[in-house]
């Protein structure tokens, strides 16, 4: 099999598994993840608790499953919001050109200069830490990324002959954007979104590790990791499980994005022939 296909299949499998587990956790987990049972803490894996129990006697599998929906929600919402706004900005910049384009791109430069973690801490200081603020912070870093990618790709399409033909027939800028530009850059945006998913999952883990993401009792991989840190000497597996989940989720989306890009990139298609 070609490299691209291998990446695609591994990525798609991991992402598919993650999605199934996350959706399953909405209707079923082996145990109630909020159920504390101090006397059953640090249990070894068993039939009732396949990955054992944590420091408060909660079932680790249930925690990891519930945390996966948290990760996916944050990633989906953040990339969705950031992607919509960013793509909009990029399309406007490309369609209007001139000073509008220059101004929008300078705004994006400002956005790039602002670290997401710092923004999240600022939001948490002003409004208290919450899942919503974490989503906002991650969405914020996605805006300039999508704006720049969209503008670059759209500018190339604007220079193509069929677009010039459309312009010559008197079609409006918005009409061309909708009918010709967006469909032609859609594959690029989908690839970008998939890769940003991976980044968003990592960012959510980092924020909740710092206590800025989902608040208890909603579990999150990042917070499980930070809580397991002092337990490294007595129960290292409690840090390994959420760590592994983060790695696999990020790897899955990363490989899927990679595979999709290889599949859709016209340069690669041409070289194959």
């Amino acid at each position: 099999m070609r490299r691209a296909a291998v990446n695609l299949w591994i990525g798609a499998t991991l992402v598919g598994l993650l999605t199934i587990i996350a959706l399953l956790s909405l209707v079923w987990t082996p145990h109630d993840h909020t159920l504390l049972s101090i006397s059953n803490r640090f249990q070894d894996p068993s039939v009732t608790h396949p990955l054992g129990t944590d420091q408060l006697g909660r079932d680790v599998v249930s925690l990891l499953m519930t945390a996966s929906i948290n990760s996916l929600t944050v990633a989906f919402a953040a990339v969705g919001i950031g992607g919509l706004i960013g793509t909009g900005m990029g399309l406007v910049a490309s369609a209007r050109g001139g000073w509008t384009e220059a101004a929008l791109m300078r705004i994006c430069d400002l956005g790039f200069a602002f670290p997401a973690i710092l923004f999240a801490i600022m939001l948490a200081a002003a409004f208290g830490p919450s899942l919503g603020n974490a989503i906002l912070a991650i969405a914020f870093i996605n805006i300039p990324i999508f704006a720049r990618v969209t503008r670059g790709a759209a500018n190339q399409i604007w220079a193509r002959e069929f677009v010039m033909a459309a312009r010559a027939t008197g079609r409006s800028g918005w009409g061309i954007t909708w009918q010709h530009i967006l469909p032609n850059i859609a594959p690029i945006l989908i690839v970008q979104a998939t890769i940003e998913f991976a980044v968003a999952i990592l960012a959510e883990a980092a924020l909740s590790y710092l206590g800025l993401g989902a608040q208890p009792p909603m579990p999150s991989w990042g917070r499980m990791l930070s809580e397991a840190q002092t337990l490294m000497y007595i129960a290292p597996e409690l840090a390994i499980y959420p760590g592994l989940c983060i790695v696999l989720a990020v790897l899955g989306f990363g490989l899927l994005g990679d595979g999709l890009r290889d599949l859709t990139d016209p340069r690669l298609v041409r070289s194959r022939k």
Binding site: R41, Q55, G57, A124, S130, G211, L231, I234
Partner: protein, 491 residues
């Protein structure tokens, strides 16, 4: 870890077999680093831990049991009416910069601390003082406006450190006092070093030449440093879950002591729903201390039913005043119209608080109350919770001694609690000279706050210390914030 410990033990055996002189340089781990080094202008406990009674000295000091002992004052007399204290000072004492200590330094220190606009962290120490004067070069006379049973104890604290007028302004970065250790250097974010002061009156009895405090806030990093023997001692070790491991290791001594820190589930009495006594009582019924102590402290804490340390002389056991009873709590919440209500629990970034919080959240949920947890930064907590009273519930340890006084601090204090009856009771306690009578009154005070269920009372914060085997002189318990190091040595 197990395969490693054999060669390590062998190494230790070899090194102890060689004739080595007793070690005189000690590395002590601390979780918190202060921002300044002057205990008379900043309340940060780490300043007192490192410097009070080590670099700075006060007129009095206390021993491990909390009993008052002479320090810079070698003796004192108290007038019949309990209002005039006459101290005779130790002669021949010098500050670390070489200047001589006399009564004028005491007058200067105390006048500065109680002056208008003073930044001294504990105004309660100074409030009863009417005048401070020096009738002789080594005599101090202090007149109080009303008797104060805690006066001599209060004078032992870091807030009442004796400072010299020449160096007072630079004490925040370069502390100068009369203590057995002098300040050497401070690398921010890393360490603070003290060296023995040869000019001290008891210099011969000091067991250490050099003390290095290392600031390690992360318990996992502290554990690694201890296991690698990069630290000799960690008083106030922050991770009870790791104690078992150190207890099993012959290289270390684990000491379990008590502190003055009552950990409470503080309720904001100034606003609904906790302005209602029945709701506060329902909270006390809803929480299960046993489970909290097991879960958050790994069983290493003593439950409290009121706001007084179990090791204190006036302690009365009130832990069964509100037995854990979820059904009853549910009913009481429902009667108050709170069924399915949502209440916010703002938690400061301390493991005892965040861990207890999660368990209390689960226990309250069983009683039908939705608790939303907000983990906040320390600065945010101080500002929003402590100063602005902007909270429903929080969890915090009160580590000061004699802090039953907090309930008499009026509605502006973050408890939002005010009771004329309690204010009168505390006034009586504060001015009662007879310890027996005072202890009876203190028991009344404990019963009063429990009766009114002002907060949920959880447990006494333990003091877990890990020392290398063979170190003596550390206090097991901490009746005060400081830890005198003059008696600490390697055997």
């Amino acid at each position: 870890m197990r395969p490693l410990s054999l060669p390590l033990t062998a190494l230790v055996l070899i090194s102890t077999a060689l004739p080595v002189a007793a070690q005189t340089s000690m590395r002590i781990g601390l979780q918190q680093e202060p921002t300044v080094l002057d205990p008379t202008s900043d309340a940060t406990a780490a300043i007192d831990v490192m410097l009070t009674q080590n670099v700075y000295e006060s007129l009095t000091t206390v021993d491990e049991s909390g009993a008052v002992m002479p320090q810079l004052a070698e003796s004192w007399t108290i007038s019949e009416d309990g209002l005039t204290y006459t101290f005779s000072l130790v002669q021949g004492v010098t500050f670390h910069d070489g200047s001589a200590f006399d009564a004028q330094d005491v007058v200067f220190s105390f006048d500065r601390a109680r002056a208008e606009g003073s930044v001294n962290p504990t105004s309660g120490i100074w409030a009863p003082i009417e005048s401070v004067s020096a009738p002789g070069p080594y005599t101090i006379e202090i007149t109080l406006s009303e008797p104060d049973a805690f006066f001599l104890f209060n004078l032992a604290q870091g807030d009442a450190s004796i400072v010299a007028p020449e160096t007072v302004d630079t004490n925040i970065t370069d502390p100068v006092g009369t203590g057995p250790f002098q300040f050497d250097s401070w690398t921010r974010g890393d360490r603070l070093t003290l060296t023995a002061f040869d000019g001290h009156r008891d210099a011969a009895d000091v067991g250490l030449e050099r003390v290095e405090f290392r600031f390690i806030s992360d318990p996992a990093a502290a554990t690694a440093a201890l296991l690698a023997e990069e630290l000799d001692a960690f008083p106030g070790f922050p991770a009870p879950e790791l104690i078992d491991q150190f207890e099993a290791d012959p290289r270390f001594d684990v000491v379990l002591g008590s502190t003055e820190g009552e950990v409470i589930l503080a309720l904001n009495n100034s606003k609904p729903p906790f302005d209602q006594l029945e709701v506060r009582r329902a909270v006390s019924h809803a929480i299960d201390r046993g489970e909290i102590i097991d879960g958050a402290m790994y069983g290493r804490a003593t439950p409290i039913g009121s706001f007084y340390p179990p090791h204190g002389p006036a302690y009365v056991d009130l832990t069964s005043a509100y037995p854990h009873d979820t059904a009853r709590a549910t009913e009481m919440f429902a009667q108050a119209g709170l069924a399915e209500a949502e209440i916010t629990l703002r938690l400061p970034p301390f493991p005892y608080a965040t861990r207890s919080g999660e368990i209390i959240q689960a226990q309250m949920a069983e009683a039908g109350i939705n608790v939303a947890i907000e983990n906040v930064e320390w600065g945010f907590w101080i500002d929003e919770v402590f100063r602005k009273k902007n909270y429903d519930m929080t969890i915090i340890a009160h580590t000061s001694p004699n802090d039953l006084a907090n309930f008499a601090r009026g509605p502006e204090y973050f408890y939002g609690f005010q009771s004329d009856a309690y204010d009168a009771l505390w006034q009586q306690i504060r001015t009662e000279a007879d310890p027996e009578v005072r202890n009876t009154l203190l028991q009344d005070a404990q019963r009063y706050v429990t009766e009114n269920a002002v907060h949920g009372f959880l447990f006494q914060l333990p003091r877990l210390s890990i020392n290398k085997a063979g170190i003596t002189g550390f206090w097991n318990s901490s009746p005060v914030l400081f830890q005198p190091l003059a008696g600490v040595r390697f055997e």
